[in-house]
């Protein structure tokens, strides 16, 4: 497939719309803060920002570099954000799924949030420089399989006519299928090489909206279930535990994979688990607020063909 550009002209209109809305919200006193994106020093780059007054509304932007899932700032893991009133948050469809999950897990209340939804044509892959044009090559893998370009159930969504986009290859599905076709020994060799790179910086954990535990199992040393040192053994255990703890909760914002400084394809594990849970229990995370997930509930008729 040849590389085709993706039309991001709507982002200019969206930026203007969220600035106006942000300004209105502060002026009307409806919210105390907005978690959004602002431009950064590097050309084309954007970074998360938390603004608390109408004057700062002009700093808000939305571009193809607005990759972060800002939901992480609303979890109890982030104690620095003021939580003394209603908070506005800029969400793409994928980010919204995380908020939906957090509401289901009683971490957030819908009435405490003002959701500013972004009609999103896609964001840049972590491998692309921030100033790169968005194309079928440079787009993030998660965007290729996106089913939430238009976030639903938000308080405000800029009204935009979506330009038709090019057909995108499903990279995760293809890669999962490739790995599934290998022998266990080949898969083990693949993951061993990937996990060997891990330096235990825990960026994958720190950006994950669902890693909000006050103390991570992997930070505990009595008992020490997972070795803390960045060696192949402890790394493998860590990534298995991480994938298991996110199974049935992760809705695929792919932040873990984006932030990994060693480029470990972490979202493959999450997508694989999501696929299996869909097949086993017909469950998909992120679409509606459920107070139980696939691994916190059961039916008496669940498959037990693997049990003697």
């Amino acid at each position: 497939m040849s590389t085709q550009p993706i039309d991001t002209s709507i982002y200019t209109t969206i930026t203007a719309a969220i600035r106006t809305e942000a300004s209105r919200l502060f002026t009307a006193g409806e919210i105390v803060a907005i978690v959004g994106y602002a431009a950064a020093r590097r050309k084309g780059a954007a970074q998360p920002i938390i603004i608390t007054d109408a004057a700062a509304a002009e700093t808000l932007v939305f571009t193809e570099s607005c990759v972060n899932n800002l939901a992480v700032y609303l979890t109890k893991a982030k104690k620095e954000i003021p939580k003394n009133g209603k908070i506005g948050i800029i969400v793409k469809g994928c980010d919204l799924k995380a908020l939906v999950g957090l509401m289901g897990e009683s971490q957030l209340k819908r009435e405490d949030l003002y959701l500013i939804g972004i009609p999103c044509a896609g964001v840049l892959a972590s491998t692309a420089q921030p100033a790169t044009e968005l194309t079928t090559e440079t787009i993030a893998s998660k965007c290729c399989e996106c089913d939430a370009h238009l976030p639903l159930g938000c308080d405000f969504v800029p009204s935009i006519a979506f330009p038709p986009g090019p057909q995108l290859e499903s990279r995760y599905s293809a890669e999962i299928a490739r790995l599934e076709a290998l022998t266990p020994a080949e898969r083990w060799a693949y993951w061993k090489e990937q996990f060997a790179k891990c330096i235990k910086c825990y960026a994958c954990r720190q950006v994950c909206p669902f890693c909000f535990c006050e103390q991570c199992l992997c930070d505990r040393n009595k008992p020490q279930m997972v070795d803390t040192t960045p060696r192949p053994a402890g790394n493998t255990a860590w990534h298995i535990v991480r994938a298991m703890h996110l199974a049935g909760r992760c809705a695929g914002c792919a932040e873990c994979e984006r932030v990994c400084p060693m480029d470990i394809p972490l979202n493959l594990l999450n997508r694989k688990m999501a696929k299996e849970l869909k097949e086993l229990f017909d469950y998909e995370a992120g679409f509606e607020v459920n107070d139980t997930g696939p691994l916190t509930m059961f039916t008496e008729k669940d498959d037990q063909s693997f049990i003697k």
Binding site: M225, T236, M273, D302
Partner: protein, 165 residues
């Protein structure tokens, strides 16, 4: 009387069992003087619902060649639904391990009630013999000896330990 057969490889099997059913079943096998392989090391838990997947991982990391998880039959759980939750969790965990490249023949789940001493013997014997033919679980043991390149000291002692797996 020693009627055991000598094998070249004696696998280490770790069994995580619930105290109410499978542990009692294993106990029954013992008091009934049934024979089963001594390869199995039993760890008793209140319920299969208490058996965290990380325990299985830890067992493999510490040198287990095979792992058995066993508890009450569906509907018989002392805590009503612990084994139903466990069933889902392990269904998911198996898929993850498989994707990472662990051979699932080394991991067995079973329901063994307090009255099923015979089934306990059968499950344990089957798993032990299956793992015996598969040979040692080298993957996790190799991993435990590996370092990041910068920390590696490739000494003869380390090489010897590696070859000994």
């Amino acid at each position: 009387m020693d009627n055991t057969i000598k094998h070249d490889f004696e696998p280490k099997i770790i069994a995580f069992v619930c105290t109410w059913c499978t542990y009692a079943g294993a106990d029954l096998a013992g008091t009934s003087r049934m024979q089963y392989p001594a390869n199995v090391r039993v760890l008793k838990f209140p319920c299969t619902g208490r058996i965290d997947p990380v325990f299985i991982l830890k067992a493999f990391q510490q040198g287990a060649d095979g792992v058995l998880v066993s508890g009450c039959h569906p509907g018989d759980c002392h805590y009503i639904a612990g084994n139903f939750h466990a069933r889902r969790r392990f269904a998911a965990f198996r898929k993850l391990l498989e994707f990472i490249g662990v051979d699932l023949n080394r991991l067995q789940f079973s329901w063994v009630s307090a009255a099923e001493g015979g089934k306990w013997v059968e499950v344990v014997t089957d798993l032990t013999e299956k793992v015996r033919t598969m040979g040692p679980m080298v993957e996790f043991k190799e991993l435990a000896l590996e370092e990041q390149w910068s920390g590696a000291i490739d000494t003869p002692e380390l090489r010897e330990a590696y070859d000994a797996i």
